[in-house]
């Protein structure tokens, strides 16, 4: 009978089909991996007991559960069985011991795996866990951007041991990404870009046209991106910018300066050099390069504007990093005469600085373009605050799924978030027509670094318990008269104080009060000199008044003091620790001479130590010798691990070194 045949067959098929899923389940890869690991562990074990322990391990899912870290569940150790097992050093993957970092292998129980590596912690198959599978969540961070993981908890601008992340964050700040994009912790960011109210006083239509076409070709140092403007847009924007009414007092200052007599270019050249302009600016590429290239500055701006600007830059742009020098009227005339004489484009057309006759209609269109193109985000007027960001919110960009990103025309890209971000930074408008983001023309290394910094931006901030307390204390800037001086000389443009400030200077001011002597600092502020000749960027001579210098020196030496640095390091130590001869012997045997100059001999890498006695406080010298990296993480000075006695003896020796003037005087006599 047929039904019986069918019944027999379907029953067998029924049994067979139902058995497939349990069979698949029994053959899941992690089970065989765990069996392999048992064998590997048994062969690598150092003792029979240990080998038996490996053999006895049960096949099971292993997980780290972190209720306090977003309830994270990481089952990576189900396959990566040797990640915390020293026996598994150099073992084949996936069993290899995790490389040593600040948090591993000791703190797996605190951080799990995905908090740094990303990927899908709860998954138990390679494709799902690494995020390769179609419907899996965000994939693991590529090794190139692994430091993004650090950035999830370490929100500071610089993160020790994460150079790429730190660089990415620095690039983002410098190029003002936060002006258009909202990022947690940078809500109050304001761009340094000048408010564009004095264009008509400063430059001409032809120059502005060149600039708007592509700022980088005019000034390679600029952080202003290229917007690929059409000729019509450039025209409209020019009319708009020339159509703006400059503030009355600035217009008067420029007009008055225009009428002043000529200066002395030769004297100006000397002042230009003393003022160390190229500590920030460049001239024909020489210099630091965080401020505009000056070789053609006289072609970009009128004489009156230059003169007025040099005298009071902060009136023109309250957020500029340029300090206000104490030039006398004739000194500033001399400087500008030098600029006019030598730093100009001799091939430039004659009419490059001719102003524009403003057409109201075009100007109105230009103002619209100014908004539509997002110019206002950086060039916000003085008082205006940015109510809503021009660009998209970047919080959570690190958690974006590649599927939610518009790859548009970029068929060439791998469908991953890092690839998309990289392409967006390198060539923002290659995805589709009419995209708003301008092109910053970053070198590939910077792009990689910024992608790392972006991937660190999670949708949610790290839980309170995991947020890193940055090692740098918060930078406190005094108010009142002192604050005004800090502001006037823009100390923070170059120096770091705590977690704030620029990175041009190698001397942070955070502990400056414990470091240098007050009298030395006063004279240094008045007439600075190069402490480390090897470094191009040097402290300018501000031509500040003695009163200003004394006030600043006094404030710095009393305010920026680290209580951990002893005033007198010898207190409580036996007199034998002051053994100068032993200190000198140490100086020679440790090879300090290779970098430092004492007397007439020594290397140029470190600062000369000839004037240690008058310059540095002994407490600082001692603290530094005990561990230079504690004070500047990137310093090359080796940490010799000196004992207190040795460090004190060396300090005692260095404290005998007299200022060069005295040495010279002694030589003469």
């Amino acid at each position: 009978m047929r039904a019986r045949h069918v019944f027999a067959i379907t029953s067998l098929v029924f049994l067979g089909v139902l058995a497939i899923s349990p069979a698949k389940n029994a053959l899941r890869p992690y089970r065989s991996l765990q069996q392999q690991f048992r064998k590997l562990g048994a062969t690598r074990a150092h003792s029979l007991k240990e080998a038996l322990r490996y053999e006895g391990q049960s096949v099971a899912i292993r997980q780290i559960w972190l209720p306090r870290l977003d309830g994270r569940v990481d089952r990576c150790a189900t396959c990566h069985l040797g990640a915390a097992d020293p026996v598994m050093a150099q073992a084949p993957e996936p069993f290899r011991l995790h490389p040593a970092t600040a948090h591993t292998p000791s703190e797996f129980d605190r951080f799990g795996c995905t908090s740094c590596h990303g990927g899908q912690g709860p998954a138990t198959s390679l494709e799902e866990a690494h995020g390769i599978a179609e419907d899996a969540g965000p994939p693991m961070l590529p090794r190139e951007q692994i430091e993004a993981g650090c950035g999830r908890c370490h929100s500071g601008e610089t993160v020790d041991e994460a150079p790429v992340l730190s660089r990415g964050r620095a690039v983002m700040t410098r190029f003002g990404c936060y002006a258009c994009h909202l990022v947690r912790g940078h809500e109050d960011f304001r761009s340094e870009a000048p408010p564009l109210t004095t264009i008509a006083l400063k430059t001409g239509a032809a120059w502005l046209r060149q600039w708007l076409k592509n700022p980088k070709t005019v000034d390679p140092n600029t952080t202003m991106p290229s917007f690929d403007l059409t000729d019509a847009e450039i025209d409209e924007l020019s009319h708009a910018l020339f159509g703006r009414t400059p503030p009355q007092e600035l217009a008067a200052a420029v007009a008055a300066a225009e009428r002043e007599g000529p200066g002395d270019p030769a004297a100006g050249k000397k002042i230009f050099s003393e003022a160390r302009c190229i500590s920030c600016h460049t001239v024909e590429g020489k210099g630091h390069g965080t401020a505009p290239e000056l070789s053609k500055v006289a072609t970009a701006a009128t004489r009156g504007w230059l003169l007025a600007f040099v005298r009071d830059p902060h009136a023109f742009n309250p957020r500029t990093r340029m300090p206000q020098y104490g030039f006398s009227p004739s000194e500033s005339r001399d400087v500008v005469a030098y600029l006019e004489d030598e730093l100009r484009d001799f091939d430039a057309p004659k009419d490059i600085l001719l102003p524009l006759r403003v057409n109201r209609t075009l100007a109105e269109k230009g103002e619209k373009a100014f908004r539509a193109r997002g110019c206002f985000a950086c060039h916000a007027g003085t008082g205006a605050t940015v109510a809503e960001r021009f660009g998209p919110d970047l919080n959570g960009v690190g958690d974006k799924k590649a599927r939610s990103l518009d790859f548009g025309k970029r068929e060439d890209l791998p469908r991953t978030t890092p690839a998309w971000l990289g392409a967006k930074l390198a060539n923002p408008r290659s995805f589709a027509q009419g995209l708003k983001m301008p092109s910053f023309d970053l070198p590939p290394d910077d792009v990689r670094a910024v992608v790392t910094a972006l991937l660190a931006l999670g949708a949610q901030p790290a839980p309170e318990a995991y947020r890193s307390a940055e090692r740098q204390p918060p930078g406190v800037i005094p108010g009142g008269e002192l604050g005004r001086l800090f502001d006037r000389y823009r100390c923070l443009s170059c120096h770091q104080i705590g977690d704030r400030g620029g990175d041009i200077s190698t001397a942070p001011l955070t502990h400056e009060g414990s470091k240098v002597r007050r009298e030395w600092l006063t004279s240094y502020l008045l007439v600075s000199y190069s402490i480390r000749p090897i470094i191009e960027e040097r402290m300018p001579i501000f031509r500040m008044s003695r009163a200003d210098a004394e006030l600043l020196a006094g404030a710095i030496t009393s305010f920026y003091v680290d209580p951990a640095i002893p005033q007198d390091p010898f207190a409580g130590h036996p007199d034998s620790d002051r053994d100068i001869g032993e200190g000198e012997r140490l100086y020679t045997s440790l090879g300090c001479r290779a970098c430092h100059i004492v007397g007439a001999a020594g290397g140029y890498y470190g600062p000369p130590l000839t004037d240690t006695q008058s310059r540095l406080q002994p407490g600082w010298v001692f603290a530094w010798l005990k561990g230079p990296q504690k004070w500047r993480a990137d310093v090359r000075c080796p940490d010799y691990g000196l004992t207190d006695t040795d460090a004190l003896r060396l300090t005692a020796y260095l404290e005998t070194l007299k200022a060069p003037a005295e040495t010279v005087a002694r030589g003469k006599s």
């Binding site: 019986r4 019944f7 027999a8 067998l12 058995a19 899912i61």
Partner: protein, 154 residues
């Protein structure tokens, strides 16, 4: 199996079909049991760091609410007791005035070594393992019951 023996063939087919169905049902039952047994647990870890030996001078009784355990310092060292009453599983509390561990549910009382002083509790409170890790911290494992009287010398 020949066609001349239709009766036997019918029986064979029936047996095959019913047998396969029975096997499938039995297999499904086993797979279901496997399905129902959890493969991962979200339970708090049984090991916790109680502090350093210095935190437990003689006569200290510290109650860890989360882990339901007492860590007790004596002249000889440190030991730990579970705080779960052996009667019906209520959480006991330490009364420092009387130096006893008392259960709020049915009035059982234990001394600080876990012995029943009074009440319905059938057994003394179990002693649990205390170890010292490499950093010198005391690590208590509430899941590891050890013989009463095992004091960690510190």
């Amino acid at each position: 199996m020949s066609s001349s023996d239709p009766m036997k063939r019918r029986d064979f087919l029936t047996l095959t079909g019913v047998g396969a169905c029975a096997a499938a049902a039995a297999g499904a039952g086993l797979v279901t049991l496997d399905f129902l047994s959890p493969k991962v647990l979200f339970e708090p870890p049984t090991r916790f760091v109680a502090g350093t030996p210095l935190d437990f001078p003689e006569g200290t009784v510290r109650f860890n609410r989360e882990q339901r355990a007492y860590v007790i310092g004596t002249s000889g060292g440190v030991y730990a007791l579970t705080a779960v009453c052996t009667h019906l599983g209520c959480i006991t509390r330490y009364l420092s005035d009387e130096n006893v561990i008392a259960c709020p549910c049915h009035g059982s009382r234990f001394d600080v070594e876990g012995n029943v002083v009074h009440g319905p509790a059938p057994r003394p409170l179990p002693w649990i393992e205390v170890k010292q890790d490499t950093a010198g911290n005391l690590v208590v494992d509430t899941a590891a019951v050890i013989p009463a009287g095992t004091v960690l010398r510190v």
